[in-house]
């Protein structure tokens, strides 16, 4: 976490989203979306289903063209994704039956830098190996990806982003469907990567994880409801604005999301 003063803040921004408006056909998915994430942050992206979390990640990756507004990644808006932005999709969107090994998938992180036709070389293999060692998955390198456990699958996708030498990682629901131990291990890995200087932006439903372990939170429901330190963002007022009827605040102060 850093406490930069206002006039310095832009130089330290990994992500600077300004007045973003995006959608599909006539359906508005995101409106007036403005927020920043400082470099070296572990940041959470929180909001109810259909709040535009996935659309926001797609726009940041350059996969979906916004109607207006801009996304600056490390201060650049042109093709921000070719290297600086790593991405781990929701696991249900990945074809785990495909006949590729864990190493094959991690090497795909190098494909963008290789360009057309050129094959991965020694340096690419070294980076992929280092990435697999980083996420403690080297002993699984030659396994078919479907043989991995849920936690190992997330780590393999993170290794691909690391092999890409990405400084900003966008993770779509990496904590979903994991048991408590696997969640804990994954969070520890994310914290370690943050310590090493990576910026991580994690879409998640797990408010308590973000509140407990993250530096920064962006709460959205089509609009940005709030962003900043989790303690400041997750106020009762902000949460009920974001989650509308899906959030129940119990008398003891415990919150449940349905």
């Amino acid at each position: 976490m850093s406490f930069e003063t206002e006039h310095e803040s832009h130089s330290g921004c990994a992500v600077d989203v300004r007045d973003l408006r995006a959608g599909y056909n006539s359906h508005v998915a995101l409106e007036d979306v403005t927020f920043t994430i400082e470099t070296g942050c572990l940041a959470g992206l929180v909001g109810p289903n259909g709040s535009g979390k996935s659309t926001l990640l797609k726009v940041m990756l350059g996969l979906h063209k916004p109607w207006s507004g801009e996304v600056l990644i490390f201060g650049h808006s042109e093709h921000p994704t070719h290297g600086h932005v790593g991405y781990t999709p929701q696991t249900e969107l990945v074809d785990w039956t495909f006949p590729v090994s864990v190493m094959d998938v991690v090497l795909m992180g190098r494909y963008g830098k290789l360009g057309l036709i050129r094959r991965p070389g020694r340096r690419d293999r070294e980076l992929a190996t280092a990435a697999l060692e980083r996420v403690r998955l080297m002993d699984r390198a030659q396994r078919q990806i479907g043989e991995l456990s849920g936690g190992e699958q997330r780590r393999a996708l993170i290794a691909r982003a690391l092999a890409q030498e990405a400084d900003l990682l966008l993770l779509d629901e990496p904590l979903a469907g994991l048991d408590a131990t696997a969640q804990h291990d994954l969070l520890r890995l994310l914290e370690e990567l943050r310590t090493e200087g990576k910026t991580l932006f994690v879409a998640t439903h797990d408010l308590s994880c973000v509140a407990a372990d993250f530096d920064h939170a962006v709460l959205i429901n089509r609009h940005v409801v709030a962003f900043g330190r989790p303690a400041d963002v997750f106020t009762e007022e902000n949460l009920s604005t974001a989650f509308e009827r899906h959030l129940f605040v119990l008398p003891q102060g415990t919150t449940i999301i349905a």
Partner: protein
């Protein structure tokens, strides 16, 4: 002993059998490799549709006395592009668009052929193919087109793999994903065109799908599936032609049924994953997925 040897050498004494053998092997090797992507991407329906659509062009070329290959290729490619164009508008689903246009192209071919004199004979030959009537120039053309398809698959291996496996990430790294998805359709269309002479428009899909699906039961990496798929396709062609010769059966039917038999064998007896081993009560055939 001599008689035993004759059993294997007899068919190849005749030039039309040798030509047929070359044509069948070229086509089944190419189809086995391209078919690996077809089964992995769930493209079975489009792979059945394109050969049917090519029939429209083949029939027109046949009536006009033009090259059947060229007619078939144009019809298959035009139909593939039309399907892509209509479904990309978002009003009609992809498989619905396939269903509309391939039958239309096939019906067009039927109407054109019906106007010809030797209606039934020509129709049977085009729809079901006859590998034993191919000429040497057919064989050379099949080798040239098949060779081009294989070169593309090898040169763009990395791109085809990435766009098939993870199109979103491939697009995010700047790869022209749509171009490679169209390219895959073109590869299927070209394979179709050279396969039509061998097994006819109805049975092409069997050469694309069955050997690759058999390979998928036996090996676990994409290059291995391609190589084993090609080998199984070639084996089906050779065994199928022997059966056709000795039992006096249709060559295309024999080749396809041989491929099917090999698939069923693999389905039953594939190491660890065959249903026969799975049914045995005493051992766990596949290590359970940890979670």
């Amino acid at each position: 002993m001599n008689e035993f040897a004759n059993f294997f050498t007899d068919p190849w004494q005749l030039e039309f059998m040798r030509r047929g053998l070359f044509a069948a092997i070229i086509v089944s090797v190419v189809a086995g490799i391209v078919g690996s992507y077809v089964i992995l991407k769930g493209m079975a329906f489009i792979s059945d549709a394109l050969p049917h659509a090519s029939f429209g062009g083949i029939a027109i070329a046949f009536a006009a006395g033009a090259s059947l290959y060229l007619g078939g290729a144009i019809a298959a490619l035009a139909t593939a592009l039309l399907i892509g164009f209509v479904s990309r508008r978002g009003l009609i689903k992809y498989d619905t668009a396939i269903g509309i246009f391939f039958v239309a192209a096939f019906a067009l071919g039927l109407a054109v052929i019906q106007k010809q004199n030797n209606y039934t004979g020509d129709l049977i030959a085009l729809v079901f193919g006859n590998v034993l009537t191919v000429t040497w120039s057919d064989v050379y053309l099949a080798a040239a087109i098949g060779g081009a398809v294989l070169i593309f698959v090898v040169v763009f291996y990395k791109e085809l793999l990435f766009t098939s496996y993870d199109p979103a990430m491939a697009a995010a790294t700047g790869l022209p994903v749509a171009a490679f998805q169209y390219a895959l359709l073109v590869l299927v269309a070209l394979t179709t065109v050279i396969a039509v002479q061998t097994v006819g428009v109805i049975l092409v899909v069997a050469l694309l799908i069955t050997p690759a699906a058999t390979a998928q039961l036996l090996v676990r990496s994409l290059p291995a599936i391609m190589l084993v798929g090609a080998a199984i396709g070639a084996a089906s062609s050779v065994i199928g032609l022997y059966i056709a010769w000795h039992a006096d059966l249709s060559a295309s039917a024999s080749i396809v049924l041989t491929a099917t038999a090999l698939f069923l064998l693999a389905f039953a007896f594939a190491p660890a994953r065959g249903v026969v081993w799975q049914a045995l009560p005493t051992r766990t055939a596949v290590p359970p997925r940890s979670s």
